[in-house]
Amino acid sequence: MEHASFGDERNATFCITEEDHTLANSLRFALNQDPRVMFCGYSIPHPSDAKVNIRVQTTGEPAREVLKDSCQDLMLMCQHVRGSFDKAIAEFKRNNSSRNYGRNPIAKEDNTNRKLSEAKDCLSKQLHTLPKFNNHNQNRQ
């Protein structure tokens, strides 16, 4: 996985298979935010090969450790995103009874969005009458 030059742990290129921009771009962000990183970048050598090369050059630490730390950081960020998102959803569900579900002052202000949401509401209400969607309804109460 790692192609480092011998004896120099500070600079290395890592090849990750079965990944694409999704992971590589977020990893590049996390790496760039680390003050120990002097340079980092990624490339996809060929569009039909499912692999990415990530280049890491550090100010002294082994590149491998820095990359590992960045992955860890990214993971913690994701966990925080998930936590805050779940909290926001729970709060939204608490504040919106099932009758005015899906409407709030901000959405009302936004004209185009309101029309869209009304159409959607109407559609989902029709769908709700079908037995298949009972499950959703129960979850929402």
């Binding site: 962000f29 003050p35 998930r82 202000e109 936004d110 185009t112 969005n113």
Partner: protein, 378 residues
């Protein structure tokens, strides 16, 4: 930097006028470029993000991201949530992360979709392969987390396959008929078609195309919640005397392989627009401005002395069409920006999972990816 911006943000600060001892804050004009996309009449400017931690080192400003800062700044606010659609604001996150979530939602979250179609009879005008393709795109309303992937050497069983049956006929003398997705009937016991060859006489039980150990409707998650498909989708049309009889096998997959496995109709984000009036716009000019904007961002406010003044009433509705800054003199009066770390995220689910669950699952997938890299490196 144009006049408009300097007026709006307190004027240009020359590097020579900066204090000798670096403060931990960026001067205003740089901070503006760090946090905003400037939407000028010619083209958007300053669209990239500054990720490098040492980008502002020479000014004594640390551009690295501490996890604690991220935790303090990150905010989520839900605007709209229905059974199959939601919109929320995600503030304080880099575009690379927001884009990763979007890409995962579109292409890497698994769902169930029809993959194999066994056609016993099809005398309709729609060809077998076209019919099979149409069936593949019909969303199946079931939580994919209850199922496993079917790999090449697996036999289709109750843990990795859902079987549907479609048998429709249009009688002679009847008007032309429409076959809708509602006609797909779930077969919880698996395939009913018998394999023609290979079944030896000694084998008491005739072999079908699946080998279910038990009926799916005995599983607790489906016992009072039968698996169905999205209703009302036209699959085929039949003329009098025509008939379709087939069995469709749905398996688990991801949108990267084929779009039929994508759990979202679509999923997108836009950055928060910011509209600022650099000077008071009054009287006829205010009327003109209100008329200019197709998204009705501006309103007129009556002042005490009977005069009229334009206000920015609905900045979120701005589509950044840039109509209001098309003329030179108007570009001076109005600053249009986008906030780089504020995303208005919209998810439209096709029905398998509610949108809020989709998002949490997408974030989990990104976590799994990181974990995989960590374990590969250790």
């Amino acid at each position: 930097m144009s006049d408009a911006e300097s007026m709006m943000h307190g004027g240009f600060v020359s590097a020579l006028d900066l204090p000798d001892v670096p403060s931990s804050k960026l001067p205003h004009h740089l901070d503006l470029r760090r946090t905003r996309v400037l939407c000028n009449s010619v083209a958007p400017d300053n669209t990239d993000t500054v990720q490098y931690s040492g980008a502002y080192a020479s000014m004594g400003v640390d551009n690295s991201l501490r996890l604690d800062d991220f935790r303090n700044n990150f905010k989520v606010n839900v605007n709209r949530l229905t059974a199959d659609e939601m919109e929320f604001d995600m503030v304080g996150v880099d575009p690379s992360l927001a884009n990763a979530f979007r890409r995962i939602l579109l292409a890497e979250l698994p769902t169930m979709a029809i993959e194999k179609v066994f056609i016993a009879n099809n005398t309709s005008v729609i060809q077998d392969e076209v019919l099979a393709h149409r069936l593949g795109l019909v969303p199946i309303i079931v939580d994919p987390r209850h199922f496993d992937y079917l790999s090449e050497n697996d036999r289709p069983n109750e843990k990795n396959t859902i079987v549907f049956k479609l048998h429709v006929r249009c009688k002679k003398g009847d008007p032309r008929g429409t076959v809708k997705s509602d006609e797909l009937r779930w077969l919880p016991k698996g395939s009913e078609f018998l394999k023609e060859s290979g079944a030896s006489a000694s084998n008491t039980k005739a072999e079908t195309y699946t080998s279910f150990n038990f009926s799916q409707d005995s599983m607790p998650e489906f016992s009072d919640n039968p698996i169905g498909v999205s209703p009302g989708i036209i699959v085929a049309k039949l003329a009098p005397g025509q008939e379709i009889e087939l069995e469709a096998h749905a398996v688990k997959g991801i949108g990267k392989t084929h779009a039929k496995w994508s759990p979202v109709a679509t999923c997108w984000y836009r950055m928060l627009p910011e509209v600022v009036l650099n000077e008071d716009i009054k009287g006829d000019m205010a009327e003109e401005l209100v008329k200019k904007c197709p998204a009705s961002v501006f309103d007129i406010e009556e002042l005490a002395n009977g005069k009229k003044r334009a206000t920015v009433a609905r900045p979120r509705a701005c589509t950044l069409c840039r109509e209001c800054v098309r003329d030179d003199e108007w570009e001076r009066r109005i600053s249009l920006c986008r906030v780089k770390d504020h995303f208005i995220f919209t998810i439209e689910s096709v029905g398998a999972l509610p949108p809020e669950v989709l998002f949490t699952e997408a974030v989990k997938i990104l976590e799994d990816k990181c974990e995989r890299v960590i374990s590969d490196l250790s």
